[in-house]
């Protein structure tokens, strides 16, 4: 009993006197960086920009943005700690923004710190910016009508991931896709454009080097090919769809989660020929006023949609093969199913040569309440 009393006393005394010691990080004393921007400085070092919300400052809702020069990612934090009143910590990082020029040289080494330091979250978005991320953060910070910049970018990305406009590439996704031998990462791209941050598509990576890019519509379809599409709004803009007056040159549809079938064969020379069969289901949202209720009209439309998507998908595949980026994971499938073959080839060399064909079928589910 006496022993117990002693223990309890020590515990209480410790907790009262020693709180604030050890590794305590009371969170109003922490400057939690929400966005990191990494770009290249003129003398070949890294320029690291960090945005953290100011807590208890004079002005409400303000964000402190600091840029420092360092040769390592961690060096940026250490330099910042020399300048800020708060203890800069990265435990709540939401985005890592990397400039496209730096991305072309390879970015995996920049993200390596996320794997080593347990306090850094692996669920931060990886984003490529067109131009300097530091400039983007500073400009976005001045937007009067937008929330704090990190929140702005976070919400923007979250919503567009839900709409399947951009891939959901967190740091750990990037790492997984980078390390998997038959997979390559793709990363959303943003840029500042008249008082907005705008998503401009996605960057294609070959290993960890950015090698090409797709626009928004293309990335939407690519996500469909990657089998990660949920619901998405898609617009077929083709003069073929023009209505009688000619003002509406397209059809707006909602596409639902497609069915994907991939069959892999090899020809005599050992070059893989891949067939990707996509089956989309869609609802028509906007079109000209006509007899879409007619089954024949619907069948025609379905065929036109399918042809349109097939052409576009094949173009995307061409692009992917030119920049040697395999986000669909065809290499991964070959590795899983035909391991002997996989060992005998170098996929990076084989992929651009492979014969990949996409054929798409579209089924119209609903034409709306029109009658």
């Amino acid at each position: 009993m006496k022993k117990l009393l002693k223990m309890v006393t020590i515990l209480i005394v410790c907790s009262l006197l020693l709180s604030g010691c050890w590794d305590q990080r009371v969170f109003e004393q922490v400057g939690f960086t929400l966005s990191y921007g990494i770009e290249e400085s003129q003398d070949g070092k890294l320029l690291i920009t960090s945005a953290y919300p100011v807590i208890g400052g004079v002005e409400k809702g303000s964000v402190d943005i600091i840029t420092t020069k360092s040769s390592l990612t961690r060096g940026g934090r250490n330099n910042m700690r020399l300048m800020t009143p708060k203890l800069i910590e990265g435990g709540k990082v939401q985005q890592v923004l990397i400039s496209d020029s730096l991305a072309k040289k390879g970015i995996h080494d920049l993200l390596e710190i996320f794997q080593r330091d347990v306090t850094l979250p692996a669920i931060a978005f990886v984003v490529i910016t067109e131009g300097s991320p530091g400039e983007l953060l500073k400009k976005a910070n001045e937007f009067k009508s937008k929330p704090r910049v990190s929140f702005y970018i976070y919400q923007l990305l979250e919503n567009n991931v839900k709409l399947s406009n951009i891939p959901n590439t967190k740091v750990f996704d990037f790492d997984i896709n980078f390390f998997a031998p038959g997979l390559d990462p793709i990363v959303p791209m943003v840029k500042v454009e008249d008082e907005q941050i705008k998503i401009t598509g996605c960057a294609l990576f070959s290993d960890d080097k950015m090698s090409g890019r797709l626009n928004n519509k293309e990335s939407n379809l690519l996500i469909g090919l990657m089998n990660q599409l949920n619901n998405s709004d898609f617009i077929f803009s083709d003069p073929k769809f023009a209505d009688k007056d000619g003002d509406k040159q397209g059809v707006a549809v909602t596409m639902f989660k497609p069915k994907r079938k991939i069959s892999i064969n090899f020809d005599e020379e050992g070059i893989p020929s891949v067939e990707i069969n996509m089956k989309y289901k869609c609802n028509i949202d906007e079109f000209e006023w006509d007899d879409t209720m007619d089954p024949k009209v619907q069948t025609d439309l379905e065929k036109t949609f399918g042809d349109n998507l097939t052409t576009m998908s094949n173009e995307i595949i061409k692009k992917l093969q030119t920049v040697n980026c395999d986000p669909i994971g065809i290499g991964d499938m070959i590795r899983a199913k035909y391991y002997d073959y996989w060992k005998s080839i170098d996929w990076k060399e084989m992929y651009p040569k492979a014969d990949i064909k996409v054929s798409t079928k579209v089924e119209i589910g609903n034409v709306g309440i029109i009658k």
């Binding site: 009993m1 515990l11 907790s15 990080r25 969170f27 208890g56 306090t119």
Partner: protein
């Protein structure tokens, strides 16, 4: 005269063989009693005589006796009898209009009878005492339960008088299988006590152990039912209650029917139920008085409240002190903003508010109701607004403490609620030193402790560990009554199935 009491003492020491017997001379008995009841003005010694002039002594305790009855019916009748007519030939019955009469020739028995409120008559020439049960004790009437309220169940509670309590129970269980083992407790107070059980359901081993344990209590008095628990509990260090104290007869009935024991003690409106498991403290009688789905939800809510009451302030301390990255992004800035003005570390902040709340709670229990209401207002204002405005605590901690307080009021048993409150503080201290790991360690220790505990040799954490499938149904959820045919195994009942054999 002075040494008269020595034989009495020695009889106490040497066992019950040496009994002091009454004399057939009234004067001897009178002087013995006078010595015994020296300085006891409440014990009235009234001399009178029978029809033939035989001197008679009537002794009763003022305030415990129905004086009206005594004066109107008994004394006149007595005075009309001759000394030969009082008893029948075998000295077994008395010709007096009283329902409960006992005759004995032991001096000490007579003394006990007098002290327990009976009217005792001594007649010259007879070496016996006639004890008449014309007791009328001032007691309050049966009222609503005060600390265990419910909605649809019976609205009556036990009172301080053990006889009334037992009669309530008998009224509820009209069966000869309801039995009581009676004895007295308290070396000085001589309180009547009883263990109620149901023959054929209650396990005799448990009954015997409990009877022995309670009988062996050697203490001046039993102030409340909790005294018994403290005196017989196996583990004296644990903050958890070993036995369930209740003021509700319906709860006692349902527990008796599960093969458990109920200990009644005179002078306390609470009854102790044993053996029980941890989960008995989380059940309310209301649970069984309605739709099973609705009340299952209530159960779950209660367990959720238990977890909140134990861990929420500790989690707040841990997260704010060490793990800022666990806070969702949208909450992070408002939280940090509200903490920014507070000069104290989180543990002090929480302690300030928790202690204030505990003081408020403790104060309102003791104060008269009309003052308690104003204390609530003052406390509410201080806690609610002024402390935040003054920058002593943050907004968030007010919410945390308030939710914790509400959650801890969900626990149906008062003893358990106090225990949970006590453990909460320990968890808080651990959280302030070790962060979330401290909270987890506390949780692990808590479960380890609960698993080790026993209530009358039965595992305290029973249906969870050791696991029992049929009991477990009635823990987190409340199954339909017809699916609860089996009695819980906590008390190892002899008859395992509810209901008669048809």
């Amino acid at each position: 005269m002075l040494f008269d009491f020595i034989p009495y003492l020695s009889y106490k020491k040497r066992g019950e063989n040496m009994q002091k017997l009454l004399s057939n001379r009234l004067e001897d008995n009178y002087s013995d009693l006078n010595d015994k009841f020296l300085d006891c003005p409440d014990i009235k010694r009234q001399r009178t005589h029978l029809k033939d002039g035989c001197p008679t002594l009537i002794i009763y305790v003022e305030g415990l006796t129905d004086i009206n009855l005594l004066q109107r019916d008994i004394i006149p009748k007595l005075q009309e009898l001759n000394s030969t007519e009082v008893f029948d030939e075998n000295m077994q019955t008395v010709r007096l209009p009283v329902a409960s009469v006992s005759i004995s020739n032991e001096f000490n028995l007579a003394v006990t009878d007098i002290l327990s409120g009976k009217t005792v008559i001594f007649i010259n020439g007879f070496d016996v005492a006639i004890s008449l049960s014309v007791i009328k004790v001032e007691k309050r009437s049966i009222s609503e339960p005060t600390i265990e309220k419910n909605v649809k169940g019976p609205q009556e509670a036990f009172i301080e008088s053990i006889n009334t309590n037992i009669s309530i129970l008998r009224r509820k269980i009209k069966n000869d299988r309801l039995k009581f083992k009676t004895f007295t407790l308290g070396e000085i107070t001589n309180q009547k006590a009883a263990i109620a059980y149901i023959e054929g359901i209650t396990n005799p081993e448990i009954l015997e152990t409990m009877h022995q344990k309670v009988k062996d209590i050697n203490y001046d008095e039993i102030t409340g039912i909790a005294s018994i628990e403290q005196l017989i509990a196996d583990n004296q260090i644990t903050p958890f209650p070993h036995y369930l104290a209740t003021e509700r007869p319906d709860k006692v009935v349902s527990n008796l029917l599960e093969g458990k024991l109920a200990i009644f003690v005179d002078g306390t409106p609470f009854v102790l139920i044993a053996p029980v498991s941890f989960f008995s403290f989380m059940q309310a009688p209301d649970d069984y008085l309605g739709n099973w789905a609705v009340h299952s939800l209530n159960r779950l809510l209660r367990f959720f409240g238990l977890i909140i009451a134990l861990f929420l302030p500790a989690l707040y301390i841990a997260i704010v002190s060490y793990h800022y990255y666990m806070i969702p992004l949208n909450l992070l800035i408002p939280l940090a903003e509200s903490r920014a003005r507070v000069p104290f570390p989180p543990i002090i902040e929480v302690l300030i508010l928790e202690t204030t709340l505990e003081m408020l709670r403790e104060a309102t229990i003791r104060l008269p109701t009309y003052i308690a209401a104003s204390v609530g207002v003052v406390g509410g204002l201080i806690i609610g607004q002024a402390a935040v405005d003054a920058g002593i605590v943050s907004n968030i901690i007010i919410i945390v403490v308030a939710i914790t307080a509400i959650a801890s009021f969900l626990i149906p048993n008062y003893d358990m609620a106090l225990t949970i409150r006590y453990i909460r503080f320990i968890v808080m201290f651990f959280a302030s030193i070790f962060g979330i790991i401290g909270v987890i360690i506390c949780g692990v220790f808590l479960i380890a402790h609960l698993v080790v505990l026993e209530s009358m040799g039965e595992p305290y954490f029973k249906p969870m560990f050791p696991f029992n499938r049929s009991d477990f149904k009635d823990i987190l959820l409340r199954p339909q009554l017809k699916n609860m045919r089996k009695r819980p195994s906590t008390a190892k009942p002899l008859d395992k199935i509810r209901g008669g054999k048809r």
